[in-house]
């Protein structure tokens, strides 16, 4: 599998470390036990398009959000995780 790191360019997946579903969000500390359990354990695990976290371990050390079809391994988009994270939560002063 070839992943196009937004910083380094296209590389083989062997340079990366996989972390799983990128759609789960770390809950607020006071969230219910159920919410925490869902965050840590439960996954949609869809057979199709999957948004997931990869780490460019042998490259730039960036965490990436990769949009991939898990049936075909086709990759649609790769984004810096930091950018995704910043976009979804405004910086608090």
């Amino acid at each position: 599998m070839r992943i196009i790191c937004p910083l380094c360019g296209e590389r083989g997946a062997e340079e990366f470390v996989y972390h799983g579903d990128a759609t789960v969000r770390r809950p607020h500390p006071d969230s219910s036990a159920e919410t925490w359990n869902a965050y840590v354990h439960l996954r949609d695990n869809p057979a199709g398009r999957h948004s997931e976290l990869w780490y460019h371990a042998a490259g730039c050390h960036a965490w990436l959000v990769v949009e991939r079809d898990v049936r075909t391994h086709e990759i649609f988009a790769v984004t810096l995780a930091q950018d995704v994270a910043l976009a979804r939560r405004p910086v608090t002063a």
């Binding site: 070839r2 470390v17 972390h19 500390p29 780490y55 371990a57 939560r89």
Partner: protein
Amino acid sequence: MSTASETFPREIAAPAAAVSTRPAQPFRLAEAAGVDRKNLLDFTFDGQRYSGHSGDTLASALLASGVRLVGRSFKYHRPRGILSAGPEEPNAIVELRDGARREPNTRATVAELFQGLTATSQNRWPSLRFDVMGVNQFVAPILAAGFYYKTFMWPASFWEKVYEPLIRRAAGLGRASGSHDPDHYEKTTTHCDVLVIGAGPAGLMAALAAVRAGARVVLCEEDFLLGGRLLSERRMIGNRSALEWLREAEAELRAAPECRILRRTSVFGVFDGAYGAVERVGDHLPVPPMFQPRQRLWRIIAKRHVLCAGSLERPLVFGDNDRPGVMLAGAVRTYVNRFGVAPGRRAVVFANNDDAARTVADLAAAGVAVAALVDARAEVTPEISRIAEAAGAKLLAGARITETRGRLALRGAVVTDAAGTRHNFDCDLLAMSGGWSPTVHLTSHHGGKPVWSEAKAAFLPPSHLPPGMAVAGAATGDPLLADCLASGAQAGAEAARLAGFQTSLPAIPETDGESAELQPLWRVRGGKGKAFVDFQNDVAASDVALAQREGFRAVEHLKRYTTLGMATDQGKTSNVNGLALMAEFNERTIAQTGTTTFRPPYTPVSVGVLAGRHRGHEFRPTRLTPTHDWATEQGAVFVETGPWLRAQYFPRPGEADWLVTATREARAVREAVGLCDVSTLGKIDIQGPDAAVLLDRVYANNFASLPIGRVRYGVMLREDGFVMDDGTTARLAGDRFLMTTTTANAVSVSRHLDFCSQWLWPELDVQMISVTEQWAQIAVAGPRSRAVIEGVVDAGFDISNAAFPYMSCAELTICGGLKARLFRISFSGELAYELAVPARYGDALMRRLMEIGKPLGVTPYGIEALGVLRVEKGHPAGNELSGQTTAADIGLGRMMSKTKDFIGKAMAQRAGLTATDRPVLVGIRPWDRAARLRAGAHFLARNVENLAANDEGYVTSVAYSPALGHWIGLGLLQRGTERLGEVVRAYDPVRGGDLEVEIVSPVLVDPTGDRLRG
């Protein structure tokens, strides 16, 4: 671009008369396109000497020498000869070479001949001609597909003791050498615009088109010659012989700067984004050339791929179609035209298509008598009649071969014609053709299913090809040479265009006319004898029928039940025939029946080449500490800790074992001073205004409050609430920390920090980088450590206890200006320091400290002693941080902050993690002080049965404590903290041990910590 593999150019040889005293080659013809008759080679088969020429395969040389019988089949041990002339060969598989280089199951049809080659037949005993297991042929009625599932069940104990060993001995093919492979392998990666697979007419045209467009092209050809079927046929391209055209095409490609031609290179798999190919660099030589590997793995990363893999001929299914001398018609032409070998003296040709008439013509041209052309079709073209007539062959249209004769070699065949009349022919060669199957294997490695074409009677490439792939040539199902040239050119040009180049279609040369008309014939009915479908695995038409009868009707069931297509050839010649028969028995179409899944590798690939150089010591890289060379000089014994090699202990002459040494070293630390390289601990430089914030979120305890110049022990959890890692973190400045991690977790902690700072809390202004390798860090531990440190710190730095107390850190200079970092931390529980210098000075610093410490009794110690010291102090380490323990389990519960959020906090509250019956950290000592403890023993109360229900925990770490004079240990014990003083058993049946141990505090030496603060 030329590669190493091309340093042995082989011209297409002009025929030359052979003059030699070597064994004769009675079947060698005068003309051969592909062998060098001037160059004679000796080889042996089953110990018998033979000769051949360079350019021969083992198969062609054996045929030239008149050898027919080359192997025995898998199950019935039927005598078998050479069926094909390529990678699809099911019968002629041999053990090539001997000794440690023995290669079982080597197809004689692709093994290139070299001087001194030795080959041995396999799966026979005592000899190929007289094989005892040949009796299986006569009990064949019992040994039908799947018979073993129905029997061997009584008595139950007999299966493993009697039946299975018998089955195993009878099964299997060649023998593994049992020795370590003496050759080496390597891997390489190449990138290109267009990868062309196969260098037949289609592949050559594709490569030419792409190269002319300026694309970077890689052309892979499995064979040692380029040309594909052109080498096997007598054809014309553009008014000259196809071989001349081939020579020109090859010359143009060779001269092209951006074309890499890889011969002897099989593309074996289509993976996501990369093709795998194996180049047989040295397999055609007695031993690989100096500095060259035996084989090389190519990972080919190409923008576009053109598959021009050609097609494979199908056998016909008729009674006793497996006798040595029955051969594929196309292979017969290959032997005649390319190798200059007559595979027989008198032939019968049996076919269902127009193509086979070529075999008649070529045999005749080579002087081989053709007794008959048996065409299964009721009507044949005038052209075919003309060819048969010219060859003097009797043409039998609408006829079938219903019987063959001969045991170790074919002697004759019986033809039954349309009227039912039997014609008996003497012959030693039977050339058969059931049509051609496009070589679509690689097209379906991504899961696409090949599509059956009724018109072409073949499976064609799936509509969903692997991304970037195009197919050309006979692999598309359009096998006519003119079409192959055209589709190759078209696909090559298109591939280059899609890769971003301007292209124009090359001119397509004219060819001589031909026809590929065919009428399927899936089996000959009413014949005698077993009609084989899968030759190697002895699957006959009757087995397919049996599978159908028993309900194994899906193709995949058929395959698994009968083993059809599961042999070393992976059904290259058998799959289509097999499933066509299943379709017939099921009364369904072939399209409805479908085909089994094609999987890599296309042809078998050695494990060695897939490993490359990564074996033995080179299996994984070795990470060395800055003092490694010094430790080597000291005679250190090293131990693998992850990628690192660390000094385990430093034996002195006369010390009986590691325990004596480690004990001495540990004692020296307690009594004087010791030195240990601790550079392997992960060190992470954390900077930025939010550095403290990040630390507070990743550590369970507080770090924002840590003063500059101080160090704090921290514990971090995983988000699921279990302990992830521990270590000390020093505050070097308001916005700068130096975190240390365990050696084992250095990489994963770094990654975790990046995760936190980039993904969880991207707004934090914090920068991190590993400095593990930048600093050599030496622990100086023991009551006299201060004196040693004093010897190196530069004047002006006060290391008195008052000025530099326990848990201090400082940046300073030593040895006359060398920048260094000093930490007063202690894993040993003694007064101790860790001194860090830029790694290049680590070696010299160690020597200097040794020198300074000499009068103080300084002793280098390894990680064994380190372990002793930490167990004495009850510090948790790897064995306690098993990923299954909570902070509370290992006595660190109080470190979990109640006032802030941190990773793992929420999940650590779960019932299971806070349950009161969780095993917790305790110390242990043997009741009998002389006894030795062992880690891994389980705790059981004294008077209970040895049952899991009574299991209360286990011993995590042990050490012989020089300070206490007996073994001690740490363990996890249910309600352990309440049980100090209790005696329990450390039960260790796997090592024959059952000891009584006393539960004590984990901290057994200096529990008040006076020594460490002194």
